[in-house]
Amino acid sequence: MQWNSWQEFLTMRGYGLYVWGSFGACAVAMILEPLWVRNRWNAIRTRQPRQERS
């Protein structure tokens, strides 16, 4: 473990903005993209039974 306190971990010894800005952007993008694809998937799946009946 490299950290003496939570404070040190959160501020990244002065690099907090840059490190958390990077990790945060990746986390947001890599959570939103799968949700977005799931939405597309669900939209097709709810459309499909109607087409199957016709």
Binding site: Y15, V19, S22, C26, E33, W41, E52
Partner: protein
């Protein structure tokens, strides 16, 4: 010989690839979650402070994997494009189209994390040097591919046009990769290479590789889910979808 070729081509048909992709998605999703969680743990808690860059260097654990993925996904798109143009298989274009948004996302993340790394270390968010500019071009190639495909109504024509763009644009990949050797750039040289010993602590390298594998699994899971969407959207009227109530 003919047998082995037939087996490979079996999965070039959307009807047989669709269920295969469906079986692979949960595996790669879980693999991505486990690997990325371990990578974040290694990167933020286990890896030691860097002697020169203090904690700022920890951006490497997302920057390098995202950059690798952005280049790798483009190569895979070019591969599928070449296959699609050569054999005229429907699935190739679908795979290329399914990969593009994920590739664009990684190219953007590479630029974004690079800017956040550049500011504290170089004193600037952005410079027009060879590595950064060629990576920006890669991002625009992804956007161009997506725009071109969505501008053409007929999916098969859109696939062919996109395939051409993907193949022409792939010359940019070696330019990005070797830019730090060919030109004098602000960007540092490769930290990991196949021919030299890595220029960093073992645990840093391990964290980065675990993270890269996690991003890899993530990209596979998302792209396979997207390709299944595209298959259903395009082939909704075809017999095989009507026949088997597709799961």
């Amino acid at each position: 010989m003919s047998n082995s070729i037939i087996n490979w081509f079996k999965y070039a048909s959307p009807a047989s690839f669709y269920p295969l992709a469906g079986r692979m998605i949960p595996w790669f999703s879980w693999l991505a979650v486990v690997l990325i969680a371990s990578g974040v743990w290694l990167g933020l808690f286990v890896a030691p402070t860097d002697a020169q860059q203090s904690e700022g260097y920890r951006i490497i654990f997302v920057h390098v994997p995202a950059s690798w993925m952005s280049m790798f996904i483009y190569c895979v798109m070019a591969f599928w494009s070449a296959l699609g143009l050569a054999f005229n298989t429907r699935l190739s274009g679908m795979m290329t189209a399914a990969l593009a948004p994920t590739g664009a996302m990684f190219a953007f993340l590479s630029l974004w994390t690079g800017a956040l790394w550049g500011k504290p270390m170089w004193g600037t968010w952005w410079v027009w040097d060879a590595r950064l500019t060629s990576q920006l071009i890669l991002f625009f190639l992804y956007l161009g591919f997506i725009a071109l495909q969505s501008a053409i109504d007929d999916p098969r024509r859109a696939d062919r046009a996109g395939a051409l763009l993907a193949l022409v644009g792939v010359v940019n990949i070696p330019v990005i990769y070797f830019s730090v050797q060919w030109w004098n750039t602000l960007h540092q040289g490769a930290s990991v290479s196949l021919t030299k010993a890595p220029s960093m602590a073992h645990v840093m390298l391990e964290g980065m590789l675990v993270m890269a594998l996690g991003f890899w699994s993530y990209a596979i899971a998302v792209a396979l889910t997207r390709v299944r969407c595209i298959i259903l959207e395009r082939e909704i009227t075809s017999e095989w979808i009507k026949r088997n109530a597709v799961e």
